[in-house]
Symmetry: C2
Subunit: 298 residues, 2 copies
């Protein structure tokens, strides 16, 4: 796949009915010029994350086709799940990769937003880098009230949609479309079963508590029973993965606890991994063009 | 470039006449199915390293075309330079990348060797993974005596060429062809101008002095005047870059010296860089398929 690329990571409000998930993902499989990279479904969240990539124009076209299938097959009036959500196709982020700029992704998000309203009568909010106002930047703020509170929320002028009329689609709610940097899901397991330690560390490192920039963190129990600091790095150029790991290890040390291992969940951009090598090796002027395989990709 | 790939890194005995270097490199530029990645010339060595990649068949064809140009344009009877050498096209290593196996590179080296003799009457030694005897594995052993001593050397049964008659090509000498893992050129600068410290550290880390496996090292003065440990990592799966760096930093500490920075010279395989991240982050089951750009390359 040469040339400018975007990654698109639509989240749909279905994580249980595999036939529906497959039918929505098929909108990616059957479109030329894009590649389906990952599908991850969470039954308890009742939500699936579909990752694909392609040239901007093809990615935009595919996002609209995927949304059309989700609107057709998912009825939010009957949807239950742990994860907050506004609509059948809940959020459509475009992420710049390869030579693509953030500006190109914002422009793409806006074109897709217009088309989602024009073809599906789905009202659209723009978020993250595509937001039209500061109170619309963060997804949790836009999602607050969820599908069930959407009609009341949209009627308030400060929550009028960016595109479309100020009332929800009857079965599909609304969609949040935007542009953002790659988000890295990153978990660090501690050598303790005491989840309170993980929670305390999460509080010290997350941005909302005055910790590391662009870092969200919570303390949970991992599948194997160990205390886990579960992290989203929203912008690895502001807080590199190595700094997250180093600080968690340092904080754990204060609790007399060690780090067992860490884990990158799903996909990670090459530069975020190269940055770890740059930091560890104190590399001077190391460029991704020096990675043999990256050179071959050009 | 999808599918199995090989990297090919021919070294030619010309590092001064840019028209000759360009004419030899043009054999790569004008061949379909391969990509020229890097050309590095050293006038004092009077030698150039040309790096290209492609599917095995195309890479083999290109290597033969490049050798033909080098044989045509370089006359070893008039060659002088600091670097040891046997011939006009001195060595042609094939390196497996992407899905290619070492076995495929050995087979490719053998096919190319046969063709170099058949078309150019250039006698061939196989080395590294393609060697036919233990005393022919290491390049320095094969090169010993150099072009000037080649007629005498080839006449001895233990140094009969693997392909061709046991006398040098009159102007082009002989060629060494083989298969090897990617070699990483890696320099670490110390915060001292005392080159004796770099030399002492190099002695402790290199394999030939009982140090790290697959590591060659020497102490030199860098272009900026700092003492530098200059390293070749012949097999980063045996000694990862992070271990080289960590051990140099530790040894430097014993001399009361710090590390200023390190530098990867030229190209490096993705896995070698990912291994640094794996080590620093104590990553569990991190696969290169999780690198977004690597996924897109498939």
């Amino acid at each position: 796949m040469p040339g400018p690329l975007v990654e698109c990571v639509p989240n749909i409000s279905e994580g249980r009915r595999t036939d529906v998930i497959e039918a929505v993902a098929a909108a990616v499989r059957t479109t030329d010029g894009v590649r389906l990279l990952h599908v991850q479904s969470d039954p308890s969240h009742n939500r699936s994350v579909i990752t694909f990539a392609g040239a901007p124009e093809a990615a935009g076209r595919t996002a609209v086709a995927l949304a059309a299938r989700a609107v057709e097959l998912i009825d939010m009036r009957h949807h239950q799940g742990e994860h907050p959500r506004l609509g059948a196709v809940d959020v459509i982020p475009f992420v710049p990769i390869a030579a693509t700029t953030m500006e190109a992704c914002v422009a793409l998000a806006r074109r897709v937003g217009e088309e989602l309203w024009a073809t599906l009568r789905l009202p659209v909010y723009y978020y993250a880098e595509a937001a039209t106002a500061p109170h619309r930047v963060r997804l949790p703020d836009i999602r607050k009230g969820e599908f069930e509170g959407l009609a009341e929320k949209m009627a308030r002028p400060e929550w009028a949609p960016d595109v479309g009329e100020p009332r929800p689609h009857p079965t599909a709610g609304a969609v949040v479309v935007g542009a953002r940097r790659p988000l890295i899901a990153y978990n660090i397991n501690l050598d303790t079963t005491d989840v309170a330690v993980a929670k305390a560390i999460a509080r010290t490192i997350r941005e909302s508590s005055g910790g590391l920039p662009a870092v969200q963190a919570m303390g949970v129990t991992s599948a194997t029973g160990l205390a886990q600091v579960s992290v989203n790095v929203l912008d690895a150029t502001r807080t590199p993965l190595a700094r997250v790991f180093d600080q968690v290890r340092q904080e754990a040390g204060r609790h007399g606890v060690g780090v067992v291992e860490s884990e990158i969940v799903g996909l990670v951009p090459l530069d975020a991994v190269l940055d770890v090598a740059r930091a560890h090796l104190q590399l001077r002027s190391f460029d991704r063009d020096q990675v043999l395989e990256a050179r071959l990709m050009e």
